[in-house]
Symmetry: C2
Subunit: 329 residues, 2 copies
């Protein structure tokens, strides 16, 4: 049947909500973010609790922005980068709403959006929230080194975004229509450098993009933008090379959330990463531009690196995945 | 809309596959397991790699048992207990098939089955594999203590099952029909004892069971069995008390996979647990009994404790969830 599913009823994103850290709000995307944190701890005692609170905040925000009561929401689909997706699970505890936990690393925004659209399109539920987020400090502590150690970051590294975003998907109403989803396969080109996620994830993004265009028969110019989640500057160049080699030129309309999320003057090497990266860019900047009529059709992909510290410690390479959704206004 | 979704097309489980460890295969369920391991390392160098190999083995087994080629499978929905669900992600790498990673701790078999059924029922895909597993040694190392330390286990503890199970869900064919799913909310009664998962998870199971019977208007005797995943002996008693207090008597037809998975002579305190527990019981014993006509209608619930070592270390209680699917033959 192919990897692409078409949503005949065209579920729509009727409301969004975003929150981001101090560094993120200095960048290009920052001015579009709904809630700018003055303090990355968000008044909590630990980074993990701050991350969870951000996620809870945007789920609540999306529900409020859709003018719905909590008991009108049928399902929350969410996940995050922390072990056992505690941010999502603990955030869901705040809402008396059915919950499906997902794990797709930084691909979570696209995965949860595809699932939300499928549940609404299938007629199972009316209002579904898709949400994810990440926190720089909790991600560094879990995946790399605690910030307190002051470790040097290599030039191919990216900066995990402190931020969260949520989309409220409904069967009717005014908003951005989700017209299809192309679900990705796990792709592994044998990259083992855990500081070079862009190189590891680019082949997965290329695989899903090539599949999407093969299955639809479209050309890249059918989209105002082909947006990837967090390949960063290096990963984006690799993606363009990989698709070019297969005869698909996406150079004219590809952007990467990781590349645009920070101000160019900020010293974050390849750009932003993390589940929160594509979540805030989609639900603030891209949403605003689509609603304003500047972009009409976007292919939104989020990529995830499906490694753990244990898998890398045991010598494994980094399997990656990318899911895509087609957004139209 | 309520928490229950009805699958009008009644997707069916057309094939299953299971694998289990040496201890598991000595129990009641063991004789129904398809592949009995002679060695819990499964020929691998680490417990995590063995867990991943088990999951890959049953995904492959379910596809073979359905007489399908790998390229006829449209989607794999899977997750496990390890950080970043590496077993599922690395297993999915072996198959060139779209993959959705989920995390619901020990509720994963029910969550993945509900998602697989929704994707088939919605007409998006024809053949979807739902799979999960766990390994005693990798779970102990990650959640508690490495086995090499020889720590004493308290009497309220359960034994994580070494095993994996997969169901192949299709839109047509002979098999067990999945007629509805009741998706659970996150429930937290404030339990903080990480060695007493049964007590933490029982309220989530009770919530989903009470919701299911309230929304359907059925009585418990509409089911041959109401099966929970891994509450264990103590958790099962708490579940029966909690539902009894709310006027629902499930005592006559409730069984728990954790309670039946081991031989009573084995010294595992409250019984089995882990994502693999309900996965092997559903896909071996329960599947065989349903196909043989001994059971006609089962409410299958799997419960998950959504904690991490970090959340417990930061003083958090244990939020839990339970998803249910209705199985008919």
């Amino acid at each position: 049947m192919g990897q692409r599913i078409v949503f005949e009823r065209q579920p729509r994103i009727v409301a969004v909500s975003t929150i981001a850290g101090t560094k993120e709000c200095e960048g290009i995307v920052g001015r579009y973010v709904e809630t700018a944190l003055a303090d990355d701890m968000f008044g909590e005692s630990t980074y993990e609790k701050a991350e969870c609170k951000m996620l809870s905040h945007v789920i609540d925000g999306a529900i409020s922005n859709a003018h719905l009561a909590r008991n009108e929401v049928d399902l929350i689909v969410s996940g995050d980068l922390l072990n056992q997706i505690i941010s999502a699970s603990f955030a869901a505890r705040d809402f008396s709403v059915p919950f499906l936990g997902v794990y797709g690393a930084c691909s979570t925004m696209a995965e949860s959006l595809a699932l939300a659209a499928a549940f609404v399109d299938g007629g199972y539920f009316r209002h579904v929230v898709a949400a994810t987020g990440s926190h720089f400090a909790s991600a560094e502590r879990q995946y790399r080194y605690p910030l307190e150690l002051g470790c040097t970051r290599p030039p191919q590294s990216q900066w995990t975004v402190t931020g969260a975003g949520a989309s409220l998907v409904a069967g009717e109403g005014d908003g951005i229509r989700i017209t299809s989803a192309t679900l990705g396969k796990v792709v592994d080109y044998g990259i083992t450098d855990v500081n070079n996620m862009g190189a590891a994830m680019a082949p997965a993004a290329a695989d899903t993009i090539l599949t999407h265009f093969r299955e639809t028969g479209e050309e890249p110019d059918a989209y105002d933008l082909i947006v990837t989640g967090d390949l960063g500057a290096l990963g984006s160049r690799i993606l363009k090379d990989l698709t070019w080699e297969k005869g698909l030129d996406i150079g004219d309309n590809h952007i990467d959330c990781g590349e645009i999320v920070y101000n160019v003057l900020e010293d974050e090497f390849q750009g932003g990463s993390g589940a929160g990266c594509s979540a805030i860019v989609l639900n603030s900047y891209l949403h605003a531009k689509m609603m304003a009529g500047e972009f009409h059709r976007i292919l939104f992909l989020a990529t995830g690196a499906l490694l753990s510290t244990v898998s890398s410690g045991q010598g494994e390479s980094i399997p990656c995945i990318a899911h895509a959704v087609t957004l139209e206004k």
